[in-house]
Symmetry: D2
Subunit: 306 residues, 4 copies
């Protein structure tokens, strides 16, 4: 197993089939420093334009359409003490009159105390003087190149991942993406120090991070939507509008997973999902919304060998 360091001088505002920035072997690790959502690096220097500039893509040897790419998030280390958010709820998640006079695009700064592993507002805000949040890092936008020569803005998400903004995608999480092009072409960026469900102010606490991931090819299994695993749960992701449709995709993917790999009949999968499923809301700010279906491992039967 090899660990590569990916140092970027150019970034992408789409997930698509573009020349790889790095080629690695199946199972290799990559360490890379991400820019924040506006393209600022760890020193506060603007390095890239557009929204959510991506590091990559990384070509993984052996990955072919029909495979899955396993992404293990091994480590996420903030490399800047300054994070920022927008100052108002997005107009689509609240009655618009509530926020019509707020400075929607204004940036508010937060202090990331890396040693203490906490996040707090840089300037005092009345009523929130005591608000000290635990650092809870996550990757907002990552995924692989889509099929057919398509290229999707990092403002949105689809079957190939993208800007899902799910707080479960943090250190120790595993994510499987369907592979659509040779080499998979993996992108990542847009890391958050902490974020509520839905990314309802249009941001988490946006900052620069050093991220370490391991990328592996899974042959002979496929999925329509991203799948994931945390310490205590398995999960599936749907990205679409309206949110009902995202929920339907995530639920279908979970159903398919349970019936194909856990040996459950359709009725048994219905029984299990009906009584133990949990839904988490990812991004509800972007063109496609994200819904996650999650089942705790303690309720799962053993995996079927094969």
């Amino acid at each position: 197993m090899t660990t590569h360091r990916l140092v970027c001088n150019a970034w992408h505002n789409v997930l698509g089939t573009v020349p790889p920035a790095l080629r690695i072997g199946d199972g290799d690790c990559v360490v890379t420093e991400t820019l924040d959502a506006m393209g600022m690096d760890k020193d506060g220097v603007s390095r890239a334009g557009g929204g959510n500039p991506m590091n990559g893509p990384i070509y993984v040897e052996g990955a072919m359409p029909g495979d899955m790419l396993l992404v293990e998030i091994l480590r996420m280390t903030p490399i800047r003490a300054m994070g920022w958010t927008r100052a108002a709820l997005a107009a689509n998640v609240v009655q618009p009159d509530r926020v019509r006079d707020l400075p929607q695009r204004k940036r508010t700064e937060w202090h990331i105390d890396i040693a203490a592993a906490t996040v707090s507002l840089a300037e005092p805000v009345a009523g929130l003087e005591q608000l000290v949040l635990p650092l809870d890092p996550m990757i907002g936008c990552f995924g692989v190149a889509p099929a057919l020569g398509q290229a999707f803005s990092t403002a949105t998400s689809a079957e190939n991942g993208g800007n899902m903004d799910y707080r479960g995608f943090g250190p120790s999480a595993k994510v499987w993406f369907p592979v659509f092009v040779p080499g998979a072409l993996f992108f990542l960026g847009d890391c958050h120090a902490v974020q509520g469900d839905g990314e309802i102010v249009g941001t988490g606490v946006e900052t620069a991070m050093e991220v370490e991931v391991r990328l592996s090819v899974v042959k002979g299994k496929s999925a329509v939507w991203p799948r994931g695993e945390t310490e205590d749960a398995i999960l599936t992701v749907g990205n679409a509008r309206p949110l009902d449709q995202a929920l339907q995709h995530a639920t279908t993917e979970m159903f398919d997973w349970l019936t194909s790999e856990y040996g459950l009949s359709a009725v048994a999968a219905s029984h299990l999902m009906g009584q133990v499923i949990r839904y988490d809301v990812g991004n509800v700010f972007d063109p496609a919304y994200t819904m996650v279906a999650r089942i705790e491992k303690r309720w799962l039967p053993p995996k079927v060998p094969g």
Copy 2:
């Protein structure tokens, strides 16, 4: 404080302005035995038709339009060892072809072990032989009469509550409903021994329960949507389609709560909600879907007196 026992001989399939079954004082308690969602009582005898037959309504002295009715769920005790679910995921939460050949309306029985506080399938199902769920009681359908002489089926939900199927509405939870008619006219029924998010098989584990609630009138505060409180969080409820709209209602109600009672400015409420909000999915099976916005109490500033 008085405790009343409400014994019903007739039930309602709507929440509307119908003659009260009981009149109580502000702050009184009520103990009542509910039927299950199909109208079966604790002995398995069919007592009422339609879906989700309601006990009530209960007229609370002093409640007037513009007030809020506080419902404290003091106790929920299963009074039948048999619960049941449907055997297949609802066709709207999954790709329909996954469930097209399943027995959608078939009832599957579960065993409720009241002493052990567990719930498990009555007949073994391959792969789920070890599935023993903790008893986690909740009220599926409850609320008050809506405004304007309207009457809504207990198959759906709206500003007045109704069939929200939110697993957070269990013992020790508090819920505030806006009052639309004199006496509020409170209804309840449709209790579940356990349920996953979304009620995605169209049921939780449906059973009969003895429920004890305290009903109190809150003067001088009002809300558009139901509000709630659990041991460690406050929450707001939106009921609508699509799910995006339900989320928008719940988020708006939380924003209004934080800015009116917790002294936060609109910007401060945005900051807080943006980084700590959690969304829970209630019913996604009925005509109106339910979304809950939740904030843990540890992040809240003190309430403003008044």
Copy 3:
């Protein structure tokens, strides 16, 4: 055949099971004067509160659940020269910032020239000095009592009709409503002198009209959603959110009509609908949106006897 004159002294803001204002025989006609959407009568006197106050209900002898009620709109005569609209696009049909500073609730008056059969702004508006619209009367809100003791606000619509605001429901149109309660309990009101698709300013040109309808019971045929017929087309109505769902209901009802009464197989109905269907947008302002599916009669095969 008898013609009844219905003179109301009380009006309803719901479609529900309330005592009938009139009982008529199957096939009788009724002439009645409606109030406008705010309760003003032909003399501009406020007679009723709430939105869309309804004349009725009319109990039709012999109508029973499972039947259909045929409503023939024989005549609609404006009885007031003043109509009014709201002055701004509704915030949900346009990017909210476009209308945030407009006087949303302000009433603008229009002049209805009954002799010339035209409608024009009462006060000149720059750029619209030449705008003279043909009078095109329609019933905004009508329908029957829903099932189960439910009662729905005249601000919305459902399987029983209600506030559909479809401009095809004018003189010479026929509409069939499913009957849910004995006597059907037919309500009508909220007439418009003219209206664009969608009722996107929240109103048509609201006025008082004298309406003549014939009400007949159709035994042995049923429908889930309202059906209609104009001089040159048949149509079906879906009322729901989002608009996709309304479209799905209307399409399903058309499919069912073609396969049950026109002798088409499912494949033949698909062929016909696929190449000739037209969709019209009714209300997109209310809690439930309205979509109409329409097929010109010239494309229809002969009805199957029976």
Copy 4:
């Protein structure tokens, strides 16, 4: 003015920034033969894979981001007597059980009588023996490359056009697309001999056509969504899910057009749109749905010079 003939040997399944197949001057005409939606040419030979293979792209000299590209559809001539449709309503536009046993993917052939300008089923179908539809050609999928290096599948649509399947886009129609990349990069294909609203069987009558268009650059005016003009109306297009959102985009674009080029105030535009707007439903089969807002020219004030 020059007329170019574009003969393709390669086709694209995306609208994106790919090398142009032809470069033309501002205002030049192009004649080209399109393949059908499955890639079959005028002789029934399969020439391209994927869905909706596109001719192009055509680079128009002088077109720059911020301009609009005017597409005048001068002529559409069927060049094959065989057209085809799918045999069943799409599962998302009807209750799924209505079509669950139909051969969804089966192709049904239609005969296009070019001389008579009619379209009819190639094999008799019971009940539709007399169905002879007028030829009503339209371009199903056309548009320009999107911004930011994105590339969108020809199965969907967005601000840049794409698979809108609107029957108003036929001979003599004009369409304006926002330009996002130098040269605009115009694509077209997927022509239909006739099609109902919504493309609800997933196809119109799919065939090969010879199409002639004139492409011109409009400097100094811009739009967010496609705009169009037919002989008697102006129109705007929104592409999104759910259909409500598409309607909102189309309505906003019409509002912006009326207030910027026709000199109407926001209130005047509201008055006009409120009483005369018509909505047409384009594609409701694809990932993004299409809604068209249309106003007849007879209601428009004169354009403001400039």
